[in-house]
């Protein structure tokens, strides 16, 4: 199970300020903490970044990779910022992941960038017409994204399908639909398609004390459904990841399994 450490988001005040002031300290500290807790990749979420996005993403990728031996998940809708970030990404640490393309023509450019830089890419299963209604609609959109990715010369094993996790507090019925979508996505190809989820969105808008609980149990169910990767806080979820991997037989049990 790949955990993409999510704590570097412009939404967090401390991170936003560090981004604005180009203060490497907090960024590297968070990246390192995620890595040590078990993250295999670091998400760099700079928001839409309409102004100065290129410089910011470039700085983020370099700053993160100076601190940890991991690849970066470049998270923004700004095409030029992704381009700039991929240009400086150190591929010896693993391949970068673009977050994300979708079925919206405005996001097709991300596939072009994935092909240009040999990066992996997340395909968010939404189109222009708003949110998908159910698992079937998500799978239909996924199939279109897969076809388009192949047109751009991207191997299907480099595409992570994202069912779009919604808030349980406002869209409770989607919690289960997303789990079903993860199952359906895998059946769209042999070998099965890879899948990724922005986990913490499930508990967005919930009381702070409930958030880790919702995140962890939801991750357990998603893992059982076959989820490949999650954008999540490694500190919060590694115990769940290791335990579920033992329960579903992906790692061999030993009394000290949590320490490994």
């Amino acid at each position: 199970m790949l955990i993409i450490g999510e704590k570097l988001s412009i939404i967090a005040r401390r991170v936003r300020e560090a981004m604005l002031n180009r203060d490497r300290g907090p960024i590297q500290e968070i990246a390192e903490a995620q890595w040590k807790a078990g993250a295999g990749m670091i998400d760099a979420n700079i928001g839409p970044a309409e102004e100065g996005g290129e410089g910011l993403m470039e700085w983020m990728v370099t700053t993160i990779q100076e601190a940890v031996p991991l690849p970066v998940c470049l998270d923004t809708t700004n095409y030029k910022a992704i381009d700039a970030g991929l240009r400086v990404h150190n591929n010896e640490r693993g391949r970068a992941l673009i977050n994300s393309t979708s079925n919206d023509p405005e996001r097709f450019g991300m596939l072009e960038l994935a092909a240009k830089y040999n990066a992996q890419v997340i395909g968010l299963t939404v189109g222009r017409g708003g949110l998908p209604a159910d698992a079937e609609e998500r799978a239909a959109i996924a199939a279109e994204i897969m076809a388009r990715a192949m047109e751009y010369g991207i191997a299907l094993e480099d595409l992570y399908l994202d069912p779009l996790v919604l808030q349980v507090a406002t869209s409770q019925d989607h919690a289960l639909k997303v789990i079903n979508a993860v199952k359906m996505f895998q059946e769209l190809n042999d070998p099965p398609m890879k899948t990724v989820a922005g986990l913490s969105n499930i508990s967005n808008g919930c009381p702070k004390a409930l958030r880790p609980i919702l995140n962890r149990y939801y991750l357990a169910l998603l893992m059982h459904a076959g989820l490949t990767a999650a954008i999540a806080d490694a500190h919060e979820v590694m115990e769940t990841v290791k335990t579920i991997e033992v329960i579903i037989g992906r790692t061999l049990y030993a009394h000290s399994y949590l320490e490994m």
Partner: protein, 312 residues
């Protein structure tokens, strides 16, 4: 459309481990299941170590004893005999004489034997205790010190005594065998505990416990197979040390290697029967995933070496 052979791909790799100095051996290092060289890389062939012991082999069957008569009264002479006469690539010295129920030899005597054997040979040495957990933790510490810097393999560290033995192996630059009793989860746990002491997992050898054909071999086989699959398909680093099959000691005490022809004539010639029993058990261990075997009868070893030649 042309037929393409289906091939497994593996994410993990067995650690490559060396033992000895100038005429050293290297084993492990493969990233495929045993003998699956068509799917990946198998850089080293399995190694067979001749077994000797610190006291004369009174409890070994005549069939095996006869092969070493004249040499086996003294460990150093016996060691040299294996090296010179049978061209052994490695040796195992079992300090069985230290067992409290046997001769109860002292740690000093054990250390002396180790020194004598090492000075008689130039091939790698595996040093085993008597499998008495308490006594071994003293004997093997003394043996590890006596063999300092000879890059030996020391064993067997078990759940009850791993701390002192692992510390001694670490301090004296040896490799270490970690043994658990046919329990894959305990095998993993023991490897974790030993590495948590600061012992490098790439210097470990796993012994999941051997058994003889007809006497639980299938249990050993499954445990070894599962360990190897965890190493290769789940890339479980704790399970990636090579595995040892301590074959001889289990084989040469079962009825089939001892029963006289006059008692059970339908079982055929005793000598051949014993050799076949040891060779078949050993081959099973290789196919299950062992990279290093400890064996007794030279003819059985020869047969297994031939098998390896044909498989590689």
């Amino acid at each position: 459309m042309a037929f393409t052979e289906p091939k497994e791909t593996y994410t993990g790799k067995v650690f490559q481990v060396s033992a000895g100095t100038d005429n050293g051996i290297v084993f492990g290092g493969e990233n495929v299941l045993p003998f699956h060289s068509f799917e990946g890389s198998v850089p080293n062939r399995p190694v067979i170590a001749y077994e000797i012991q610190d006291v004369p082999p009174h409890d070994w069957p005549e069939t095996v004893k006869a092969e070493y008569s004249g040499a086996s009264n003294n460990a150093a002479a016996w060691a040299k005999y294996c090296q010179d006469k049978f061209k052994a690539k490695a040796l195992t010295l079992r300090l069985i004489g230290t067992h409290p129920d046997g001769e109860d030899r002292t740690t000093e005597e054990a250390a002396k034997t180790v020194r004598e054997v090492l000075s008689a040979i130039n091939i790698p040495l595996i040093i085993l205790g008597s499998n008495h957990a308490e006594k071994d933790s003293a004997v093997l510490v003394a043996a590890a010190e006596a063999a300092k810097d000879s890059n030996c393999v020391i064993g067997k560290a078990q759940e009850k005594n791993y701390k002192t033995i692992a510390a001694a192996a670490m301090a004296n630059n040896h490799k270490l065998i970690a043994m658990s009793e046919l329990d894959i989860n305990l095998s993993k746990q023991l490897n974790i505990l030993i590495t948590q002491m600061g012992f490098d997992k790439e210097r470990l050898i796993t012994d999941p416990m051997c058994s003889a054909l007809g006497y639980g071999l299938e249990y050993t086989y499954s445990v070894m197979e599962r360990i190897r699959l965890a190493a290769l398909t789940q890339n479980d680093a704790v399970m990636q040390p090579p595995m040892v099959g301590d074959v001889g000691m289990y084989v040469w005490k079962v009825k089939e290697t001892q029963a006289l022809e006059k008692d059970i004539p339908q079982w055929g010639i005793l000598k051949d029967r014993g050799i076949i029993w040891e060779a078949v058990t050993a081959v099973c261990m290789l196919v299950a995933g062992s990279e290093i075997l400890i064996m007794r009868h030279p003819e059985a070893i020869k047969a297994v070496e031939q098998f390896i030649d044909e498989m590689i």
